[in-house]
């Protein structure tokens, strides 16, 4: 397993948000995490990426324990993420946004920047090339110089993915990447997720409400409800699991996307 969670428990002010989570993502695979709103999916992401600190359990990534690490250290180890509500850096260009991802893979400091040392200039060039390649990969290279937040919504999501890819991760966490996309954009997204796995060798873990997309792209699906994993398996197993149907039927109508 590339990522392995064991017995993870997270509580906020006495409420148990995640309970004894045991869960894994394999190298070079696409896995999904589904579940009704408030089930704790994003909290789980936040635990993996170091934004929340679980009270107990263990999270290992390629054999390294993540639990005591800060978010930036987790990213350095090779886990990148996107956010549920797109969080791009305002007033900055698309390329500048993507270059954030390369921060942890480069090292020039204030001193070399002020002096404009050759090593610093070479590094800048290299960072720029890598980031341009990432934009190329997600298909928005021609928008590199625009202000990121002025892009169409779908493209903003792509910028976020390119930014995450620029950290050169081994595992990419996508938080509802299809939210707000139209159907042709969703088709593109499915292709992109597969390409990320196949061409870059990056494992993908996504949280998604669009069941069609989830079923199409995932090799492994875990269902989270009230902070527990209630079912695991491939698309077929999940679709027929009575506990899953029960969990979703208890929800509002607009959550009934399980087809």
């Amino acid at each position: 397993m590339l990522l392995q969670l064991d017995d993870v428990v997270l509580r906020f002010a006495g409420n148990t948000v995640l309970e004894n989570i045991r869960f894994g993502v394999e190298e070079n695979s696409v896995a999904s995490l589904i579940g009704p709103n408030g089930a704790g999916k994003t909290s789980l992401f936040n635990c993996i990426t170091g934004f929340y600190r679980p009270q107990q359990g263990s999270i290992t990534f390629g054999g390294e324990e993540l639990l005591k690490r800060k978010p930036h250290a987790v990213t350095r180890l090779g886990i990148a993420r996107t956010f549920q509500n797109v969080r791009l850096f305002r007033e900055m260009s698309v390329l500048d946004n993507v270059m954030a991802g390369q921060h942890c893979r480069s090292r020039a400091g204030a001193f070399s920047a002020i002096l404009g040392l050759p090593s610093q200039r070479a590094e800048e060039r290299r960072v720029r090339e890598i980031c341009e390649e990432c934009l190329e990969f997600v298909g928005i290279a021609d928008e590199a110089d625009r202000i990121a937040t002025n892009l169409a919504y779908g493209h903003q999501r792509l910028v976020e993915i390119a930014r995450a890819l620029a950290t050169q991760p081994r595992l990419l966490l996508l938080d509802e990447p299809a939210a707000g996309l139209n159907s042709s954009e969703k088709t593109e997204l499915v292709r992109l997720i597969r390409r990320i796995r196949d061409e870059r060798g990056v494992a993908v873990l996504l949280i998604e409400h669009d069941m069609g997309l989830v079923m199409e792209v995932s090799e492994h699906i875990s269902v989270l409800d009230h902070g527990r994993i209630i079912a695991e398996g491939n698309a077929e197993t999940i679709q027929n699991d009575p506990a899953v149907i029960e969990a979703y039927l208890g929800q509002d109508e607009d959550e009934l996307e399980l087809t």
Binding site: F12, F51, R53, K70, P71
Partner: protein, 304 residues
């Protein structure tokens, strides 16, 4: 003076000083509670309160004199006027900024502080103003310990105001709404609470208390000037942080603790006197670094 006398006398000094800090700290803490803003201008509101009180006392001293009667009238006038000033500042300067980045609203608060300070500077030409009353220097002696009548009345008034505030917050609709707003603004909106009005009332109450403290300072010390709010603003903030910012009881407690700390520190060689302010700021930094929630503040959800 015997050691006991010194301790008791410094205890009295600390309590008097602490009640000033507490009154100003209350405003910081209440305003922070409802809009999560560190109101830099709060110390200057205190200064404006002192000047309004001075003006009011000059007006009424002809008819009712500048004794306690006149002073309480002046204090009342200052509290009302400065309370409204607080509301105006909130409406004009802070309300449009509430959704702006945090840095912007902080700088706006600083700008309000500078406007008030420099307006007073321009009006007084930078001179100190003597705050004259008819009060004498009499007091009570207990052995070598000496307590001024003025000090007794001022501390009593501060206690009355604080009890009044406590009742206001715990018993009235606005007070309850204030606590609710400080917990969750959006939820309050959904519940039909007029959040804007609650914020305005909070500014009114906080500013009025600072004005009362300003007038008391004028009465007690006999001198007011445009820069008088700077140091006390910082110290009251320290008091609010010690008590736990956002907590009303904490502000009172923090004020008293800081007053006592300063009074006793004076007596300690090398810490008192010229290093006193360093000592206060040092306490502030230590509290913020090691216990940012203060004595009575509630901790936020732990993140990162």
């Amino acid at each position: 003076m015997s050691l006991t006398d010194i301790l008791i006398q410094q205890l009295v000094n600390g309590l008097v000083l602490g009640s000033f800090y507490a009154l100003v700290a209350l405003g910081y803490t209440m305003i922070f509670g409802v809009i999560k803003l560190l109101n830099f201008a709060h110390g200057d509101i205190y200064m404006v309160g002192a000047f309004v009180g001075f003006g009011a006392l000059s007006l009424v001293s002809g008819t009712i004199g500048a004794g306690w009667m006149g002073i309480f009238v002046a204090m009342f006038v200052a509290m009302i006027a400065v309370g409204f000033l607080g509301v105006v500042i909130e409406q004009v300067a802070y309300r449009p900024m509430l959704s702006a980045p945090r840095l912007s609203i902080l700088i706006t608060a600083l700008a309000v502080s500078l406007v008030l300070q420099n307006a007073a500077l321009a009006l007084t030409d930078g001179q100190v103003t003597a705050f004259r009353t008819d009060l004498g220097f009499g007091g009570v002696s207990l052995g070598a310990v000496f307590v001024n009548y003025t000090q007794i009345v001022l501390v009593a008034s501060a206690i009355v105001l604080m009890i009044g505030l406590e009742l206001f917050v715990s018993r009235t609709m606005y007070g309850k709404a204030m606590r609710a707003v400080s917990l969750d603004k959006d939820m309050c909106r959904l519940m039909g609470i007029n959040v804007q009005r609650v914020i305005a009332v909070t500014f009114f109450a906080g500013s009025a208390l600072a004005a009362a403290a300003g007038v008391m300072a004028g009465v007690q010390y006999g001198r007011i000037w445009y820069f008088m709010g700077f140091l006390i603003g910082l110290k009251a903030f320290t008091a609010a942080v010690i008590g736990g910012i956002g907590s009303i009881t904490g502000a009172m407690l923090g004020g008293l603790i800081l007053g006592l700390l300063e009074a006793f520190a004076t007596q300690i060689p090398h810490i008192g006197g010229e290093w006193k302010d360093v000592f206060t700021f040092g306490v502030l930094i230590l509290v913020l670094v090691f216990k940012p929630t203060g004595l009575l503040g509630k901790s936020e959800v732990e993140r990162m």
